[in-house]
């Protein structure tokens, strides 16, 4: 019976202080009654293995004790969906700038990359990983703490039960294009075209007395390329203004236009476009140094531009998939309006 005493002691450890003795007395009696019944059925005293089998059937001591405890939670079912959303937002707001900063340091800061010289890739990655996760855990921990406090306040004040249906947000349809956005896009692209043709059509983009900036002959491709993309955007914005909802064809046109813009921009960064900066007050050596530096930093931005281009393309592809999925459910233009 020593095994039974050990079992009861283990259960007792987890029980609430004021009920320990009472619960253990009743549990002990229940198990002993079961043992009596089993012994009567078998016709002999239970051996160690048979007793072990009964206790095993009863369950792990902490689980048995747990059933007598009040159901507790750090964050309850009412607040949990909000908590999960906030944690996601906080982590996203932390992770994205962190990755961008890290990439920028890696590309532009030679002092930062020098830190890892002589270390293996695994060590360098471990260092980055540790600094990322320690802050991410801290952020998630602070959010959890705030919600744990809110949970306690909510349990007492029931502040979440007070609400007004009129304050609910309007129905959100991601396939509807805001007319305001279309007007802004139309105006922005129109002014861009006017400014672009007026000031950027020549290789000599600035020709003042004090300052002259000239670009490489390859500039004409960029000039016409960006102008064409702007015209396509004007056309698209005009159609979106009249029919303010995405269709698969228009979403694809937007994807192609954005890809063309991104490719042009990436190419521009790598094209060593700046040929000359000259000015009365700038010494030629200084001007040459400046020209080389600008071309160098533009080329350095290439990776960031590619990442941005990929992000834009992914957003566009996601939109196409979403629109196509909706259209496959509800045929025709009504799908977009749904």
């Amino acid at each position: 019976m020593q095994l039974l005493e050990r079992y009861l002691q283990a259960v007792k450890f987890w029980l609430p202080k004021d009920q320990k003795e009472d619960i253990i007395a009743e549990l002990s009696e229940d198990i002993r009654s079961q043992i009596d019944d089993k012994e009567a059925a078998l016709g002999h005293k239970l051996n160690e293995f048979e007793l072990e089998s009964i206790l095993k059937q009863r369950g792990r001591p902490i689980l048995v004790a747990n059933r007598y405890l009040p159901q507790e939670h750090l964050i309850g079912p009412v607040l949990f969906p909000i908590y999960r959303l906030v944690v996601k937002i906080v982590l996203l707001c932390y992770l994205v700038p962190w990755i961008v900063t890290w990439l920028a340091l890696l590309i532009f800061n030679s002092g930062y990359t020098a830190k890892f010289v002589g270390h293996s890739w695994v060590e360098a990655f471990g260092y980055l990983w540790a600094s990322l996760w320690s802050t991410a855990f801290l952020a998630a921990g602070i959010v959890t703490l705030i919600f744990a406090i809110l949970e306690r306040v909510q349990r007492k004040s029931h502040f979440l039960e007070e609400w007004n249906p009129r304050k609910l947000p309007p129905v959100n349809n991601p396939n509807v294009i805001s007319r305001f956005n279309s007007i802004v896009e139309l105006a922005a692209n129109f002014f861009f075209c006017v400014w672009w043709t007026a000031h950027m059509s020549s290789n000599l983009i600035l020709n003042e007395v004090n300052l002259r900036i000239s670009l490489a002959p390859v500039w004409r491709y960029f000039f016409w390329g960006f102008l064409l993309v702007a015209f396509v955007n004007i056309g698209l914005a005009a159609v979106n203004l009249v029919r303010p909802y995405w269709t698969a064809s228009r979403a694809t046109a937007r994807l192609l236009s954005d890809i063309a813009g991104s490719v042009l921009f990436c190419w521009l960064l790598k094209a060593n476009l700046l040929v000359e900066i000259a000015g009365a007050s700038i010494p030629p050596a200084k001007a040459l140094q400046l020209t080389t530096a600008i071309n160098f930093w533009m080329a350095k931005m290439f990776l960031v531009a590619i990442i941005l281009g990929v992000v834009i393309a992914v957003v566009n592809i996601f939109r196409i998939v979403r629109v196509a999925a909706l259209q496959s459910h509800i045929p025709g233009e009504r799908a977009a309006m749904a």
Binding site: E26, E29, D30, R58, L63, V64, R67, Y68
Partner: protein
């Protein structure tokens, strides 16, 4: 439907029924172990980890009363329905029968012409 789904739904369905069954069985004084046996004899298996916390909860709500008493040279805790418990049991049974009747009526009307009584409470 997976077996796990069925088990979870069955557990949900049984939860309220267990309270009614326990209250009904405690019209006469019983201690935990005999109560479990009575329930098992009537087709309702209930493990001690569910029964004892339930008995404590019902006692704290004033529906049961308990006292320690020696029987067969061992101290046992006997439970019995209080007046409030009897009243609640009657109300729960009324609710139970009304639900039984409603579900049977739905089953008869929507394609289960041969349905029998859903609950075995009658």
């Amino acid at each position: 439907m997976s077996s796990e789904n069925f088990d979870n739904l069955r557990l949900e369905l049984r939860r309220g029924g267990l309270v009614v069954a326990v209250l009904a069985a405690l019209h006469s004084e019983q201690y935990g172990y005999t109560l479990r046996k009575i329930m098992a004899d009537h087709g309702i298996e209930i493990d001690e980890g569910t029964l004892y916390p339930l008995l404590r909860r019902l006692e704290s709500q004033g529906l049961l009363t308990s006292r320690w008493r020696e029987e067969q040279k061992r101290n046992k805790r006997f439970y019995k329905l209080t007046a409030a418990g009897k009243q609640i049991l009657e109300q729960l049974l009324t609710e139970w029968r009304s639900m039984d009747s409603s579900i049977n009526s739905i089953l008869k009307e929507y394609g289960h012409a041969t349905s029998r009584t859903v609950f075995a409470s009658r």
